[in-house]
């Protein structure tokens, strides 16, 4: 039975779905286990045979001969042929991979596909497709540029765009007037092919002034989106920002600038960059997030430097016992809070690394704070700190336990961190809802809580059933027996 079985049943009953539960103790799983046993019992018989028909069945682990496998092989060997590579460089036979070719007069992306013709020995295709002889399925090979030079110069914008779509080279240079260029763009847009739109845009970008290009695109949203995406892809940040500025899309401008921080690895440089983002025209809400981002990294840099020093000095117990596994730089706020609750829990509010300071600076809600502190202190098995986290004093000096997150969650987190039964028991007892309490107590084997709750509920049957779950001859069994034979309890069943 699990913790929320009660809720679940209510839900499933009130609703029409079959209560199929992903729960360990379901019949389904035991059925599965049984099948597994059955299948495994056959293994001896099956496995003593030759195992090599693995390749013959359709599945196998990266079959030898597959392309992926072969690539891994090459990669493994190429490390050793480092010398060969150096040689290759000095031979200088491949001097220019680095840049895109400067756009000349061929603009379609597919015009990268230009090649040379060769008499193809191409029989297999037509053999395979003898039933459809009408069409040649051979890839259409590109031809040297020269062959196109004498092609017609009077292609209309519509013809030109159609040729571009087919991946054929053709010159856009002869479209000189703004009107022609715009018509070319309109044709491309109305044909819907994004590659052609982008090809025409590259031409326009080169031959029109920025102002005119932007102005014309402002009323052509489809084309505009293609240009924006293109600029993002080639990383022309400057023109992109100019465009957003022109369009008065201030928020996108700010976000686009902010995005650049992802490319800055050095923490100090990143911090400085974030500082430049603070004044940008984000929405009011995002402005606060950007400010927080900057402050967080600033803190992390200080904490990191300090703790690295402490750790290497080897004088601080917590770092000796629990060496840090990773740097705290660029971690989310909640992770930073966890870190600070783990390593700097007792520090006064005045230090940057103290949890209380973080909580105040970033206005972390109580719920989130308690959840994180609990996880950190439980991980260290600092049960007193856990206790203090939930203890409040009222004005008369009485203490009371309170949790902003619900004690069932507290119990779960404690259990995940292997808290001893005595500790778990204490918190299970604080769970208000009796059913939830009983479920949790059963799940985590808090016998006393189960027994006491059954007694309070005067549920003799459940107590009887629970007796079979405790160890024979244990103190719990004795306790149950004592209760069952007691004449003072008026059982309800």
């Amino acid at each position: 039975m699990n913790r929320t079985k009660g809720d679940e049943e209510e839900y499933w009953n009130s609703s029409k779905f079959k209560a199929f539960t992903f729960d360990d103790e379901d019949d389904e799983l035991s059925q599965l286990k049984e099948s597994k046993r059955a299948v495994n019992s056959l293994r001896d018989f099956v496995d003593d045979d030759d195992d090599d028909d693995l390749e013959r069945v359709s599945w196998s682990g990266e079959p030898v001969g597959s392309i992926s496998w072969s690539i891994k092989e090459t990669a493994g060997n190429s490390g050793s042929s480092h010398e060969g590579r150096e040689q290759l460089k000095s031979r200088n036979s491949f001097s220019s991979y680095a840049q895109l070719p400067k756009p000349t007069s061929t603009y379609s992306l597919s015009s990268f596909f230009r090649g040379r013709t060769r008499p193809g020995s191409f029989q297999s295709l037509s053999d395979a497709l003898s039933d459809t002889p009408a069409k040649s399925y051979a890839p259409e090979l590109g031809r040297p540029k020269g062959e196109y030079r004498d092609y017609s110069n009077d292609w209309s914008p519509s013809d030109t765009v159609r040729r571009l779509r087919k991946g054929k080279v053709c010159s856009l240079e002869r479209f000189r007037s703004l009107q022609d260029k715009l018509q070319l763009l309109e044709e491309a847009v109305s044909m819907h092919d994004g590659n052609v739109i982008t090809a025409v845009l590259i031409f326009l970008k080169r031959t029109l002034s920025k102002e005119i290009l932007f102005r014309e695109l402002e009323v052509r949203q489809v084309a505009l989106r293609h240009l924006i995406h293109f600029l993002k892809e080639i990383g022309d940040q400057k023109l992109l920002l100019d465009l957003f500025r022109f369009l008065d899309r201030t928020e996108e401008l700010a976000l686009s600038h902010y995005r650049e921080h992802l490319n800055i690895q050095d923490p100090d440089k990143r911090k400085e960059f974030l500082k430049t983002c603070i004044g940008l025209p984000f929405s009011a809400e995002d402005s606060a997030h950007i400010q927080d981002h900057y402050t967080l990294l600033e803190r992390q840099i200080i904490i990191e430097a300090n703790d690295r020093h402490l750790e290497s000095a080897g004088q601080t117990e917590i770092f000796r016992k629990h060496p840090r596994k990773a740097s705290i730089l660029n971690m989310p706020l909640v992770t930073t809070l966890f870190y600070s609750c783990f390593y700097h829990y007792t520090e006064a509010e005045g230090t940057f690394s103290s949890p209380v300071n973080l909580k105040k600076t970033f206005k972390i809600p109580d719920k989130q704070y308690v959840l994180t502190a609990l996880a950190a202190r439980a991980k260290l098995r600092a049960w007193n700190d856990v206790d203090a986290l939930f203890t409040t004093k009222n004005w008369l000096g009485y203490t009371k336990k309170r949790a902003p997150i619900g004690f069932h969650r507290v119990v779960e987190i404690l259990h995940k961190n292997n808290a001893p039964v005595q500790i778990l028991q204490e918190y299970v007892n604080l769970v208000e809802d009796v059913d939830t309490k009983l479920n949790l107590a059963t799940k985590f084997k808090c016998h006393d809580v189960v027994i006491d709750t059954c007694r309070d509920l005067k549920d003799r049957q459940q107590l009887l059933a629970y007796r079979s779950k405790v160890d024979k001859g244990s103190a719990e069994e004795e306790k149950i027996d004592a209760l069952l034979s007691s004449s003072q309890i008026r059982w309800k069943n």
Binding site: Q31, E34, S35, A38, V57, S70, I197, E218
Partner: protein, 579 residues
């Protein structure tokens, strides 16, 4: 168990021809470079390539070494280099100064009824960036299909991208007029659908076996890597998942709760088969070994793999409190206990449960509720940034642009921009602008659509998942996938007639189309074959749902998708911060 097809169900066309075609084209291109050459292959083309060719074919055509294309200068000692890449700006800059030819390998048959374009980036490129670069590829793929399998007498579609792809495809056909004329249509209907018509279905947790395997282990290009926890030995196995796997084929479309029963029945049968060998004489034994043993052994292997997979799925799902998650999803779909669901999501975020899961639930809440109320939006977003990192600010901006996660706002900022821009322009252009904006700022209207199309089945008593009564079984009887319901309704009517209101609520008034050619040559068999084209990806749950519909009505569905997707892939595509 696995439902049989009706006896009158049509045969599927043979799509292995597409593989042969792609392979032959590749060989043809390799032959253009006589002599030894090194082949550089882009990482995400490797798996598709594996499905159509192998190393020995490449060696036969004098390919010497194979390399992966990385975003750095390529180094090789060979005189000739051959690159297989998609035409992307990013890698082209490293492979300049070469001659290029186009290898039109756009359709990979992953299964007898599933063709994939293996273009996962289609989703982000189009639905986030508004880039139409793949539309021509889609049109060409459709053109190829119609030249191979005859014209499609009935065409339907919904969505802006669907309409554009359709128009471009028609243009292609007109230009190469005559090729398909006179051919008998093999496939009677084609249905094109944009992913953004139905985000909800793609965002739900999957509970049919194939979908669950995809959500848990990630099926890639029709195969899955089962780790040691599944194979119960120390190595991982790459397993092809398709109709050829007899065990898988019987459970792939089943609700997960049925799978156990099926597997244990199978296990018992297998045991009985093996037990028969006791008491056999030598001759019978010889027969048994030569005729049956091989089959039994293969079945045994498959069976133990799928049992291992089920076990591993159960373990993972129990750990992550799947039951509570599903409960929340169903509540969101039905529209009750919104407050409770919101705090469930909040807690998810606070506890730093997977960032992708948290994002998915927020999107589901947003779409089913027509956007989050501003107070919730701000608070969830703040907590998300605190838990998973401030840079996710960019992810939120992306999700808002794609319409996946929005804020209910009366005086929307977009409207302000819109009116400002509209003032700048006149007549014809203004129409286009409003168009473009409305695609960005549209409301999802999920609740109203759900009511109109009866997506939440009203059922008395228990929904028996063993004997599904409708397509809702793919979501435990809680919800009929919207995309599949639309397809069902249109096929029933052979048009959009009577669905005007739904189409309007879907913001697709201008993008729902029908095109019938008078085609007397179409056989009644072909008229029960339907090609469904998902632009932006489809999920295994949708495939299972339509396979079920097909069985009920005596149709067969064929799926063409830009990529197989699921909620995690959609979210990752929107995420600005790569894990």
């Amino acid at each position: 168990m696995a439902f049989p097809h009706r006896p009158d169900a049509p045969e599927l066309p043979d799509f292995s021809m597409l593989k042969r075609l792609a392979r032959d084209q590749l060989i043809y291109l390799l032959e253009q470079l006589p002599g030894k050459k090194d082949l550089f292959i882009e990482a995400d083309l490797m798996s598709p390539l594996d499905r159509i060719a192998n190393v020995s074919i490449l060696k036969q055509h004098e390919v010497d070494k194979l390399y992966k294309v990385e975003n750095k200068p390529a180094l090789s000692s060979s005189e000739q280099l051959c690159f297989l890449v998609r035409p992307r700006i990013k890698n082209m800059r490293y492979i300049a100064n070469v001659s290029c030819d186009e290898w039109a390998f756009s359709l990979l048959p992953l299964d007898v009824d599933l063709l994939s374009m293996e273009l996962p980036e289609f989703f982000r490129d189009y639905f986030l960036e508004g880039d139409q670069r793949w539309i021509n590829t889609v049109a060409q793929a459709l053109h190829l299909l119609s030249t191979l399998y005859g014209p499609f007498p009935n065409c339907y579609g919904i969505g802006r991208c669907a309409k554009m792809a359709y128009e471009l495809w028609r243009n292609l056909e007109e230009e190469e007029d005559g090729e398909t004329k006179g051919r008998r249509p093999e496939i009677g209907h084609i249905f094109l659908l944009d992913r953004d018509v139905d985000f909800v279905t793609a965002l739900c947790s999957q509970v049919v076996y194939e979908g669950l395997v995809d959500d848990t282990f990630r099926i890639k290009c029709g195969s899955v890597d089962f780790g040691p926890e599944v194979t119960s030995c120390d190595k991982s196995l790459k397993v092809l998942l398709n109709a050829e796997d007899k065990v898988f084929n019987e459970i792939r479309n089943e609700h997960f709760s049925n799978v156990f029963g099926f597997l244990s029945q199978k296990a018992r049968n297998l045991q009985a088969q093996y037990d028969r060998r006791r008491g056999m004489d030598i001759k019978q034994m010889k027969n048994f070994v030569s005729q049956e043993l091989k089959g039994l052994k293969q079945e045994h292997r498959l069976l133990s793999l799928h049992i291992g997979a089920c076990e591993s799925i159960m373990k993972k799902k129990t750990k992550q409190d799947f039951q509570e998650l599903i409960k929340t999803e169903h509540a969101l779909l039905e529209g009750f206990n919104i407050r409770e669901s919101t705090s469930y999501i909040e807690e998810h975020i606070d506890r730093q449960v997977s960032p992708i899961e948290s994002l998915r639930l927020m999107c589901l809440l947003s779409i089913t509720e027509n956007g989050l109320i501003p107070k919730d939006y701000r608070s969830l977003k703040t907590q998300y940034l605190q838990s998973y990192g401030p840079e996710h600010l960019l992810t939120f901006s992306n999700l808002r642009r794609a319409g996946l996660l929005t804020e209910q706002a009366p005086g929307d900022t977009l409207t302000a921009v819109e009116s400002k821009v509209s003032k700048l322009v006149t007549d014809k252009a203004a129409g286009k602008i409003t168009d473009a904006f409305s695609s960005l700022a549209k409301r999802s209207n999920f609740r109203a659509i759900s009511k109109k199309l009866n997506l939440i089945p009203r059922v008395d008593g228990e929904y028996d998942l063993k004997v599904p009564r409708d397509m809702a079984y793919v979501f435990s009887g809680a919800y009929v996938p919207l995309s599949c319901r639309i397809i069902e309704q249109v096929l029933e009517r052979r048009s959009w007639q009577g669905l005007d209101e739904v189409v309007r609520l879907l913001n697709c008034s201008d993008f729902a189309f029908t095109d019938m050619t008078k085609e007397d040559k179409a056989s009644s068999e072909s008229l029960r074959l339907i090609l469904v084209v998902f632009l932006g990806g489809c999920t295994f749950s949708e495939i299972s749902a339509l396979r079920f519909l097909g069985r009920e009505k005596g149709y067969r569905f064929i799926f063409l998708t830009t990529a197989v997707t699921n909620s995690a892939r959609l979210m990752e595509a929107m995420s600005e911060v790569k894990a």
